[in-house]
Amino acid sequence: MIAAAWICLLTPLGAALAITLAGGRLSRRGAGFVASASVLVSFVAAVVTFALLLGDKPEERAHASTLWSWLTAGQLDFGLRILVDPLSTFMMLVVSGVGFLIVVYSIGYMDGDDEERRYFAYMALFVFSMLMLVQGGNLLMLLVGWGLVGLSSYLLIGFWHERPDAIAAAKKAFVMNAVGDATMALALFLLIQKTGSLNYEIVFFQANSLSSWTANLVALGLLGGAVAKSAQLPLQTWLPDAMEGPTPVSALIHAATMVTAGVYLIVRTNPLFEAAPKVLELSAGLGAATLLIAGLIALVQTDIKRVIAYSTMSQIGYMFLAAGLGAYANAMFHLMTHAFFKALLFMAAGIVIHALTGEQDMRKMGGLRRLMPRTYWAFLIGALALTGMPPFSGFFSKDPILAAALASGWYGEILWVAGMIGAFLTGVYTFRMVFMVFWGEPSAFVREHFHKLKQDLVGVSLEVPVGVLAVLAAFGGWIQFANLWTPITDWLEPVARPLVEATGTQEAVSSVLAVLLGLAGIGVAWAIYAVHRAERPRVPWAQTLLEHKFYFDELYDFVFYRPAVFLAVALGNYVERPLVFGSVRELAEGVRELGSGTRRIQTGLVRTYALAIAASLAVVTIVFVAVR
């Protein structure tokens, strides 16, 4: 089992190195096949691990393995350690499974790009980093994976490095994530100081004996890392910009896996968060706020990928809400179904973008339903799952989250209302997208630029993963039905025991209301965008507010960027130029003056030298005689 887990972790790293080292000796498509094969091996290894773990008794399903001692400092000793337990196996399956489909999809999507090999090396590196994050056996390994996924995300967002927008987006994502990494590192320092270790068992065992100050600070630091990685308030602004990267990257990193790492972190370190209940409540509140704000902004976006990006933020908001209320299994279940249907939406959108020669503006699209029926159905399944319509997967995973909120007292009820509004908004913006892109008559732009997907390698590698994901998005939710059939909750029980248990009535009420609100949202979108019967409500100030994404970018620009630039310019003008440059110049002047003064002594006349010798000799003699 341990061997399988190590194989799962290291194969993608091997592929990344192999592709990098082979360079031109490997054909472009070959690189794609190597990367896909390595992730497939990972997936198989993850399945093997899972199967073997299933054979253990539930209480004994945690196996750690240390390759060697990696960092040693005084009493501290950090091993290169992985932990195989129900939670990490669950994530391994999601990451490598969805990752494999998306890497296969990339073979078609990136076909003909100039730097395919680099792309696939980065993709394999990302899968390795993400597996490292979820398999890490202590918080330090988790932090290493955390940093590495940030790096691969940076590299892949900026993959098309000739586009200034992509570079700017990559830098923004990296800087925003660095803020979270820093708070997380501080939390780990505090833990090392207080508990003397970063191993999960030791830290969790001592979690309850920490002072409330320490517990709160540690939980806050970890939460900072989580919100940065998962694009939640207040560090959410990088995710929409990250859509500058290739579409499969958006599907893999910015929808299915990396952005959900924050949820994984909260669930993984739940004893630390439970020692700081206020911080846990804060994360639920942040999730609720993000899901509302992202849902609102998604209403006015015109770029198809950005709409999906905002819906991702919104859905991760649900997961934070669930994790913050202690409904860990519900959060992880939603994480899994979200990985299916969001990757599906991104990849279907990728096919649309591919067919329209790179156009992403929804206003230019329309009428694609008849031109690409298979993609339409796949996209529709993803949209229905996202909206939470039965019997698609989103229904099974989102409604228990809302039910858990309803079961959590007055605070939970507020969050429940937010979640319900979110469900309505989800219906509106998702189906606005569906109707704008696929319904109606083909627009002029579509008639001019549409070209059909050929049934060659490219077409197959694009369509097969989308088909598989469509099946998963449609039926993937059936593995858990709240209160009746709960294998995922039982599976995760040893690692993360849920804090709330919703009653059957609460489940039923939440489900019915959420579905009705989702249908209402779809209805509104249908009336406005499909039949154009209803006038779009015009509220100019709200429109402006939403189009500027609630002015978060402007706020950060004003609060952080401008003062920093101002300070730098002021220091340059008033400190560097007069003091640093000035002192160097003065020093040089002084030396030169001294030199030209000394020069006059050297006359070239032998007589002066002789006089100098004679005079000094005389002085020496006189002194000698006088002293004696």
Binding site: T598, R599, R600, I601, Q602, T603, G604, L605, V606, R607, A610, L611, A614
Partner: protein, 102 residues
């Protein structure tokens, strides 16, 4: 052994040395400068021989002989330079030889 006191010899030697040094410092003609140098060397020689006699040992005399040999060779080189200068129709003036000025 009779004769003036050793101080008188040394006084003459010092006088000769100072005369020579003054000549080296203030005269411009290279010939006179060389000549003054010879006077300085002879002042030194006189002091050497005086002390040799005073202590009754031969070392000083040996040194005086060596100084004479050096003086002779130095004059040869110096006169050679002066002849070379004259051949090039340069002014025979040591103040004109100042190309080493900084």
């Amino acid at each position: 052994m009779m004769g003036p006191d050793v101080v008188w010899y040394l006084a003459v030697a010092a006088f000769l040395f100072c005369t020579g040094a003054l000549g080296v410092l203030i005269r411009r003609s290279p010939l006179i400068v060389l000549l003054s140098l010879e006077i300085m060397l002879n002042g030194a020689n006189l002091a050497l021989i005086t002390f040799a006699r005073y202590y009754g040992r031969g070392d000083g005399q040996v040194f005086a002989l060596a100084v004479m040999a050096i003086a002779a060779s130095e004059v040869v080189v110096g006169l050679g330079l002066i002849v070379a200068m004259a051949r090039r129709h340069l002014d025979l003036d040591v103040d004109e030889l100042r190309t080493l000025r900084g």
